[in-house]
């Protein structure tokens, strides 16, 4: 009995000693995503694809879907039907990847441009309003002029969603009163901030002025 107590005391000490330091199991000798490796000459654990191989999903049978081109000319149709979800996805992705330069309305006055990047053309000029939709896909895929390519950051389907949304932006900036549904007020009510403005990374929450003042928040 006494012996057992002695051992449990030792055990407790051992546990305490271990609790105080980082253990080997914290950092196991295996490759973690993008981690450094001393095994390879370039110090990368991520290995490039072996030359001459095609991974699953890399065989691009539907060339139009992956290039936006028919032959060498950009095509002018969407490879999948444009639904509300597609446009919503396009808007979300546009605001993440494109708006920093092209701005949320597509006039090319985004924040990065204001900080000195070369001004991209507005989407609302005649040339781009007439450009086929595959052209936008191709520019996103391969870059154009000062614009780098976004093929690594935006997967193909999202690029098509963005292209569809750019079309919607172009329509929005050239809408007429005939496009407004019956009964809708023009101009619509001013939007007001609800609570703290967003950080910029995400849009602040907005509500029509009328609705906000009903809740006693007013147009402060």
């Amino acid at each position: 009995m006494l012996k057992l107590r002695k051992f449990s005391g030792l055990g407790l000490l051992a546990v305490l000693a271990l609790a105080g330091c980082r253990q080997d199991m914290h950092d196991q000798p295996r490759f973690k995503p993008l981690a450094k490796s001393d095994f390879y000459a370039d110090l990368r654990s991520e290995r490039p694809q072996a030359e001459g191989t095609v991974a699953r999903g890399q065989y691009h049978e539907d060339t139009y879907f992956y290039s936006g081109k028919i032959g060498s000319d950009p095509g002018d149709y969407m490879p999948f039907p444009v639904t509300e979800d597609v446009l919503a996805r396009g808007q979300q992705r546009f605001n993440i990847y494109c708006a920093p330069c092209h701005s949320r309305v597509g006039d090319g006055n985004g924040m990065i441009v204001q900080r000195g990047y070369r001004h991209p053309p507005s989407y609302h000029i005649d040339r781009l309003r007439k450009a086929p939709i595959g052209y936008f896909f191709d520019v996103m895929t391969n870059g154009f002029g000062a614009m780098p390519d976004y093929s690594a950051q935006v997967p193909p389907r999202d690029r098509w969603c963005i292209a569809a949304y750019i079309r919607a932006l172009q329509l929005s900036q050239n809408a007429t009163s005939a496009d407004v549904p019956q009964g809708q007020k023009i101009p619509s009510d001013n939007l007001v901030f609800r609570g703290e403005p967003g950080s910029g990374a995400t849009p602040p929450e907005m509500a029509p002025a009328e609705q906000a003042s009903e809740k006693g928040e007013g147009t402060k």
């Binding site: 609790a19 105080g20 920093p100 924040m111 990047y117 609800r194 609570g195 910029g200 995400t202």
Partner: protein, 231 residues
Amino acid sequence: MQIFHRSSNAIARASILAVALIAGLALYVILELDRSPYVTYEKVARPQPVPFSHQHHVAGLGIDCRYCHTSVENSNFAGIPPTKTCMNCHSQIWTNAALLEPVRDSFRTGHSLVWTRVNDLPDYVYFNHSIHINKGVGCNTCHGPVDRMPLMYNNASLRMEWCLDCHRAPDKYLRPRDQVFNMRYQQPSNDQPLSLDGQEFTDQRTLGKYLIQKHNLRTVADITSCSTCHR
């Protein structure tokens, strides 16, 4: 013959108590030390090859988290951007800045920038970013006010008790999916109700319970089971 004075009895008794006290104190100190930033690096900025400021890029320029961390929504790893992502802008902006020389050098030579990992979970923990994002856990719920971090630090201890705080009661933190990347999100209150799916929420617990249903969260018993994270 009496060698020890009578008062020795009291000292002997007191020393028994003292041993217990000292042992208790030592235990307390060790446990607190293990929880302290000295061990967890909580809120301690780490040196990096380039003093990258999340504050400048997120709050100053309004760049979304996903512009760089592209795989956060559909992979267990949020993704560290390749040097090319930096050069998307810095091929034209701050092209002469000495601070950015390591970035340009990396782009020219193809050698990776060696960043110091800040939010580093122990290797015996399985963690997946995408499931947290898609169930409505905001970026800053775990990562803290990244938009106010000139240098990156881990906002929490990353200890298991910290993980379990949320896994035991996810309704304390869940938010609507479209608010996950909002760095200034505020939980609903009476002053600032949140409307979602035609309902008005004025407190976090009600919203959280609703989102548990809406986002199909597994039960607390499931997500606090050992093998959920220790696989």
